[in-house]
Subunit: 320 residues, 4 copies
């Protein structure tokens, strides 16, 4: 596993939010196909997606949702506006935080804490109890806070960081599991250029971004009915401002199932007819590998049988 | 126009509720293809449909709904239970009644009136005012009442009959337009053996009989949504007991549009997936030739475009 | 039990479709309060309801639905158009038919059968098998056919009648249980002038007649949602033409529950706001005494609790 | 207008995100009742709400949504979890940014830019074009970046700040209107302790936070139907993770109308019956003062009339 090796026709390149040690790197480590390939650290989601679009990388790993903070707005907005992308996989990383300092610093010495704002917010209960007088300096990533301690770029006494940081830098552990929610997890997606979706596994998810056709009571209702009337459960429904004016939103949707499932294909057709803008982000295996359950009446066989029946009606065949 | 001519390979045969002079015959007279063909009078709907099924007739004209009395139960039940039929046309006949008697009888002489019970019910207001003391003898058809006067088979002084009766029999007109509702109309359908539907005209109707999958709050709702969510208006929704126990019904439906309209085909697929028993009775031109209106978003082009879009997604083509 | 006794302030009068021996009389015999009161036979539903409206009777028993034939159109239309009535009870009578003749006539002698057309239709399978050559003379009621045999008013050899006829007239039984459906049953309702509904029993039914506000896709859907969104099951939904033109219907509805149930009261409010014409026909105990089941979330307590909560919000009380 | 004056029984205190110069202060300046009262600057939303709950302030102004970035997660989560609060007003502040520096610094001298991360993201297009080589130092607020320039606490050459900063500090304007979206606006709400809602104005908004009763296809649909079936439009629907596990959300809702509007009261009753957790945040005048439009059938009179009608049915009064 190395960063930025010389290009090779047989190697694949994966962009991720660096530097080494981030949760995003931990997500990329879950991808079997990425082992022994080139991992390309970038500074933000925009860079990662640009790498994919412009061919510098084969795929990018990006954070899309956190169980405590919710959707990652910049990722959702980037996927909504950058064409030519496809989500091909999903990965979960438990979010755990440690408090670290330069060797010799003790907890009672800490008055200034460096932390990425999201990490800081997730550790606030612990910090308030353990360091009631502390002040906060924001950092651009969870790893950057720790690196700043090491290289002196940040004038803080301690930093909040992922546990893996201790293997990468010469830092002391002051406290561990300082996150407020012990079950916090971040969801990542692996994004490639537009390509056919991976084959259905029975435990798949389909991601979409949809704009409503007009602002009237019931438009969102109609959107959701496209799924409900085909027995499709949604695991995510988030709204993001389109940005042109207050009150106009697009909806980020994760639906249980694969585009090659008949009920999902039918729902997509319904959505497309309903909405002027439906962006299909991809169908891919769920990170938790949970088999999608649905009422028998929405199975592929039922759809196929109905089509055969309709064909017979039109051709005038006597009914069986 | 003759009844029961010798069979001929080039002639077609049409069954209708006889004898000559009935409203059903008036409906058959509206069928251009039936001119100069064989018209076969029968005694009831069962006989008419049996003629078609068993090949004695090419088609049968049967009454299906009256604007005052509602659906014709026997017709609806026969269509629901006799397989192998297809509705191919719809015809409207204004329902107008006259009071007739043998030559010489005057209105003030009338004390007993012969009439088919449905016709009698539709003239009750007039009869109560004009002949307050009359009594009623039921007849098996509107024409049979008049024929009974002529041949003495019914011991009545007058009969309620369609206006055309005066051209067929030697009877005097005592009163005309005696129906309570001057706009009353009966709807007839022409029924053939199962065959491909006539080509769409833009002013079509599709007839169905549907049983609900189970008795729970919302099953009928779900049935109706199959139409509403495709912009399809229903011109008829009637319930008929299935007959096995109280509270179990099948639904007789007329929907605006043709099975070859994309939105109707899609609704039929939805119905078939939803219900264990959907009987397609046919798609055919509406009697009133009124062009079917629907929101632009349900046009054929929108359906075709959505299918192309879906195909592109699955094949991994970059979006336009 | 006598017909037409002298009026008495302490006696109640009940109108029913006579003469003695009809299924309607059998329904009235199920009403405990009607025992030893005055039973007033009438010739049709219109007369029965006029008796109630004009004070000649306290209540009228009328047939409203048959498990084989469906809704009784004349009853449904009369209830829809005659104001000032309220259904106060429901009764079921099994429909069983016998073939009777004057003493001495044998089955093999029968060539002409008198029968009310509905009864005739319900016995057609048996008649076709047992008397393939018979012809049919229609009668105005099931009892009138038999009476016509006795008094010679109908020139038939046999009559279809209810089993009770043998206790009333000197007739011979030629065959019994000749109805095609052994489980056929007719539903009757007892109708009084407008009055408060009988107290809820937990096994109640509410009857309504509703016109849709306008003819657009989804109006009927919206009507049905008023029930479905309150967990209310419908045991009857029938359409009847309003009569002014083809394609305009009113809907006859039986809903599980009582107007004093919170969920039903709320549904009625929703209906009234939705539709220009909602006719409440009454809430009354179901004939089958089946306790109405509904999801716990639609119980009275939930409605009461929600109102208390809302009141607290408006008054600005801190939430518990 | 002063910060932190001595307490006085006749003065009211308003908490806001300080220091002076923030957009939040600009929102508070729109509140007529806050003029000449005590304005209390705080560091974050948690402090502002704690001030209100614990009685240090009468109300707090907090940012709730940005037209470009979407909902402010920390505010939404705080409102969802801190009991005893009520939104009493809404205010809009256009979001405009300037680039400032210490006197004498020119644009071409700038290599390091201090900025709150959200502000930085909103100016990225301009920065990339004007200062392609710059690097970014994050600050804790828009004003703190500028203050850091003045007091030397941040080692940057320039800062992104609101335009009002120039009146407060001795800084030079390097560039104005550098935000990527010229129409960007932030929505603020004024929050007090639980109290009766302000009187309806006809241009009101009702804010709610709702958890779904269970995770099944259609639960969200049912939630939305509570509004759609009463003609109520939603101006905001956002999902926020409940935080206990991935895939569990609460919904933040702004609905057009006031709790004292009959249709809104009815919708709230429906919501409460449907969901185990409905948090009412308040009804208050919309910032844009746009009169709420709704179909006539959802007017207060229709609700009142329906209740009168229902009352008459139960009491047994003859219908008018």
């Amino acid at each position: 596993m190395t960063s930025e090796p010389p290009a090779s026709p047989t190697r694949r390149t994966y962009s991720f939010l660096g530097p080494a040690g981030t949760f995003t790197e931990a997500a990329l480590a879950q991808v079997p196909e990425a082992r022994d390939q080139t991992w390309r650290p970038v500074r933000n989601v925009g860079e990662a997606l640009a790498d994919v679009i412009e061919g510098r990388s084969d795929a990018a790993m990006i954070a899309i949702e956190n169980s405590v903070d919710g959707g990652v707005s910049t990722t959702q907005d980037a996927l909504a506006t950058v064409p030519g992308l496809r989500i091909v996989g999903e990965y979960l990383v438990p979010v755990e935080f440690v408090l670290v300092a330069r060797p010799g610093v003790r907890l009672e010495d800490v008055s200034v804490v460096a932390a990425h704002p999201v990490a800081y917010a997730q550790c606030l209960t612990w910090l308030t109890a353990a360091l009631p007088e502390h002040s906060h300096i924001p950092a651009t990533s969870n790893v950057a806070a720790a690196v700043g301690l090491v290289d002196g770029g940040i004038s803080a006494d301690a930093a909040i960081a992922p546990p893996g940081i201790l293997k990468l830098y010469d830092l002391d552990l002051l406290a561990e599991k300082i996150g407020d929610n012990p079950h916090a997890v971040t969801r990542f997606v692996l994004v490639s250029r537009t390509a056919p979706p991976p084959a259905p596994t029975g435990a798949d998810k389909t991601s979409l971004i949809v704009e409503l056709p007009e602002d009237h009571p019931g438009a969102l209702l109609e959107l959701l009915e496209q799924f409900a009337t085909r027995g499709i459960n949604l695991s995510l429904l988030a709204s993001r401002p389109i940005g042109d004016e207050l009150g106009r939103y697009r909806f980020v949707i994760d639906a249980d199932g694969h585009i090659e499932d008949e009920r999902m294909a039918d729902a997509l057709l319904g959505l497309r007819r309903f909405s002027p803008r439906v962006l299909y982000l991809g169908s891919y295996p769920r990170a938790d590998r949970a088999i999608v359950r649905y009422p028998e009446r929405y199975s592929d066989e039922v759809f196929v049988e109905a089509r055969d029946w309709l064909r017979g009606l039109v051709s005038g065949e006597p009914e069986a």
